[in-house]
C-alpha cells in the first residue's frame, strides 16, 4: 500500500515538472512523460498560430 502511495506521489510530482525550470538539465529519457503538459500544449499553441496564418491566407484569396 505504501509502495503504491509512493508511486502515485512520484508520478504526480513528475507530472508537475516544468520544462523551463529544467531547461539546462532536461531529462531526455523521460521527456514526454515529465513534460507532457508543457510539450503538447506548446505544440497545440503553435498549431493554432499556424492556423491563424493559413486562415488569413485563405480569407484574402476569397473573390480573387
Amino acid at each position: 500500500m505504501d509502495n503504491q502511495h509512493s508511486k502515485e506521489r512520484a508520478d504526480q510530482e513528475k507530472y508537475t515538472d516544468l520544462l523551463l525550470v529544467d531547461l539546462l538539465h532536461l531529462d531526455w529519457k523521460h521527456f514526454f512523460k515529465r513534460y507532457k503538459v508543457d510539450f503538447f500544449g506548446f505544440l497545440v499553441f503553435y498549431i493554432l498560430m499556424g492556423l491563424v496564418m493559413v486562415g488569413t491566407y485563405l480569407l484574402k484569396e476569397i473573390g480573387n
Binding site: V21, G41, F45, M49, K60, N64
Partner: protein, 488 residues
C-alpha cells in the same frame, strides 16, 4: 455626434463604474488587490489576457500600416506571433513563484537593491505606457467625433473611470471589467467588416479595383513586408523571448489564476483571440486603401472608416468599444505600477505598513499617483513608436538576469548587475552611433549574456541555502505546501 451615440457611451461608463464599485467588496488584502485573490478561472483569465494585451493603438497602427504598404503590414502586429506559444510554458512558472511583482523576483533571487532598481524602472515603464495609450486613444476619439469630444477631455474621462474602479477594486475590478471590455473589443474588431464589404461591393470587387484598376499588386500580398525582413522578425522574436518574463505586468496577468491550467488556457484563448482580431483589423485596412486613397495621414484611416461606415447608435458603441480596449489595458498596468511602487519602493525605502488596511490605503493613493505620472510623461514624450521600441528594449535589459536566475543556479547578484548595466551601456552606445534596431538588439543581448556568465563565475558561488527556497517553490505547485504559499 448623435444623442443616441452619446447615450450609449454614457450608459457604458455608468455600467463599468458600477461593476468596479461592486468589486471593492471582494478586496480585503493586498493579495486581493494585486492578484485578485488568485481565484480567476479560464474565462476570466482569457478575457484578461485578451483585454490587457489589446488596445486601440494597435488597431490604428495595423490599419494605418496596411493602408500604406498593403496586407503585409499585418506583420507589425504579428511580430510576436512566434513568441506567443511560450506563454504556455511561462504561466506555471510565474504562478509558482508566488510573487506580486517582477521586482519581488529580483529581490528574492538576487538582492534587495536589484529589486528596488527593477521597481523604479518598472514603475516608470508602466506610467509611460499608460500615458501613451491614453494619448493615442484620445486623439482617435477626437478624430472620430470630429472634435466634439476633444483629446484632452477623452483622456481625462478614460483615466477618471479606470482609476475610479481600479482604486476601489484593484485587480478584481480590472478582471471583472476586462471580461466585459474584452467582448466590446471583439465588437470593435468585427463591427466594421459587414458595412465595409457592402460599401466596397464584396471581396471580388475589392480585388478587382485594387489589383486590376489601380494596379496595386501588393495590396493583398502577405509576403512583401518591406522594412520587415526575415532577419528582423527573428531578432525581434529573440528580443521578445529575452524580455518575456520582465514585462512589469507579468505577475498580475500570470499569477492571478486559480490553477496553472486556468492560467495556461487563458493565455492560449486570449492570445488566439487577439491574433484573430488582428486579421479583422487587416481587412479593414485593405478596405481603407480602396475607400480612402488620399487621406492626409494613414493614422486617420481607421477613424475615417468608422465615421463613414457606421450608422447612428453603432458609432456610440464603437467609441465605447475603443474606450473599453484602452481601459482594459490601463487598469492592469495601473495595478502593476501600484504594486511595484507600494511593495518594492515604498515598503523598502520609506516604511513598512503595519496592517492590511494601511497597505491598501497607500496602494489606492499610489494608483492615482501612477496614472497622474503617466499622463504628465505622455505629454512630454515626442512619439508613440519610439516609446514602444524603448519598451521592447527595457524588458530585454533585465530579461537576461531573470532567465539566468530561473534556469542557472550559479547566477548571482554580480552577474545580474553586470548583465543589466552592460546591456544598457551597449544599447546607449549603439543608439548614439545610429545603428539599426536589430543590430542593437543582437549586440546588447550578446553582451548581457556574456557578462552574466563571466561575472557570475568570477565572483564565486552563493551558498545553496540562499536560493533553496526559491527553487523549491518552482518545483512545487501552489496549494501543495502551505508554508510556501504565504506571500509576504
Amino acid at each position: 455626434m448623435h444623442v443616441v451615440d452619446i447615450t450609449v457611451i454614457f450608459l457604458y461608463f455608468l455600467f463599468i463604474a458600477g461593476v468596479g464599485y461592486a468589486a471593492r467588496l471582494k478586496v480585503r488584502t493586498q493579495n486581493d488587490f494585486f492578484l485578485g485573490g488568485q481565484r480567476f478561472k479560464k474565462f476570466m483569465m482569457s478575457m484578461m489576457f485578451f483585454g490587457a494585451g489589446t488596445n486601440t493603438d494597435q488597431v490604428v497602427a495595423v490599419v494605418s500600416k496596411i493602408h500604406s504598404v498593403g496586407l503585409s503590414g499585418i506583420w507589425y502586429q504579428w511580430l510576436y506571433l512566434f513568441i506567443s506559444p511560450f506563454y504556455w510554458l511561462k504561466l506555471p512558472v510565474v504562478r509558482r513563484l508566488r510573487m506580486m511583482t517582477t521586482a519581488d523576483f529580483f529581490e528574492e533571487r538576487y538582492s534587495k537593491p536589484l529589486g528596488i532598481t527593477y521597481a523604479i524602472i518598472g514603475t516608470f515603464t508602466v506610467a509611460v505606457n499608460i500615458g501613451l495609450m491614453l494619448k493615442g486613444t484620445g486623439f482617435v476619439v477626437d478624430a472620430i467625433t470630429l472634435h466634439q469630444l476633444p483629446a484632452n477631455w477623452a483622456i481625462l474621462a478614460i483615466a477618471l473611470l479606470f482609476v475610479f474602479y481600479g482604486v476601489l477594486g484593484g485587480l478584481v475590478a480590472a478582471v471583472w471589467t476586462d471580461a466585459i471590455q474584452g467582448l466590446l473589443t471583439l465588437v470593435l474588431s468585427f463591427i466594421l467588416i459587414p458595412f465595409m464589404l457592402i460599401e466596397v461591393g464584396g471581396m471580388s470587387n475589392l480585388h478587382y479595383q485594387l489589383e486590376q484598376v489601380r494596379g496595386l499588386t501588393d495590396a493583398f500580398s502577405l509576403v512583401s513586408p518591406g522594412s520587415i525582413s526575415v532577419f528582423y522578425i527573428i531578432v525581434i522574436t529573440l528580443n521578445g523571448l529575452v524580455g518575456m518574463f520582465t514585462q512589469p505586468q507579468v505577475m498580475q496577468t500570470g499569477g492571478s489564476c486559480k490553477t496553472e491550467m486556468d492560467g495556461r488556457t487563458g493565455s492560449l484563448v486570449g492570445t488566439v483571440l487577439k491574433r484573430v482580431c488582428t486579421v479583422a483589423w487587416a481587412f479593414i485596412g485593405v478596405g481603407a486603401i480602396y475607400l480612402f486613397p488620399n487621406i492626409s495621414h494613414p493614422d486617420l484611416a481607421f477613424g475615417e472608416m468608422i465615421r463613414a461606415l457606421l450608422p447612428v447608435g453603432l458609432m456610440g458603441l464603437m467609441v465605447a468599444a475603443i474606450l473599453a480596449a484602452v481601459m482594459s489595458s490601463c487598469d492592469v498596468l495601473m495595478v502593476t505600477g501600484t504594486a511595484l511602487f507600494t511593495r518594492n519602493i515604498y515598503r523598502n525605502l520609506v516604511s513598512r505598513p503595519t496592517t492590511e488596511e494601511t497597505f491598501l490605503l497607500i496602494s489606492r493613493m499610489a494608483s492615482v499617483g501612477v496614472v497622474v505620472m503617466g499622463i504628465v510623461i505622455a505629454f512630454l514624450l515626442p512619439g508613440v513608436v519610439a516609446g514602444l521600441e524603448l519598451f521592447w528594449k527595457l524588458n530585454a535589459f533585465t530579461g537576461l538576469a531573470f532567465w539566468a536566475g530561473l534556469v542557472w543556479k550559479r547566477a548571482n547578484p554580480a552577474g545580474a548587475w553586470a548583465s543589466i548595466i552592460g546591456s544598457i551601456v551597449v544599447w546607449a552606445t549603439l543608439e548614439l552611433l545610429d545603428v539599426s534596431l536589430p543590430i542593437q538588439m543582437l549586440s546588447y543581448i550578446g553582451a548581457g549574456f556574456v557578462l552574466m556568465i563571466v561575472a557570475s563565475v568570477v565572483s564565486g558561488k552563493r551558498p545553496a541555502k540562499d536560493t533553496d527556497r526559491f527553487y523549491h517553490k518552482l518545483r512545487t505547485p501552489v496549494g501543495t505546501d502551505a508554508a510556501l504559499d504565504v506571500i509576504e
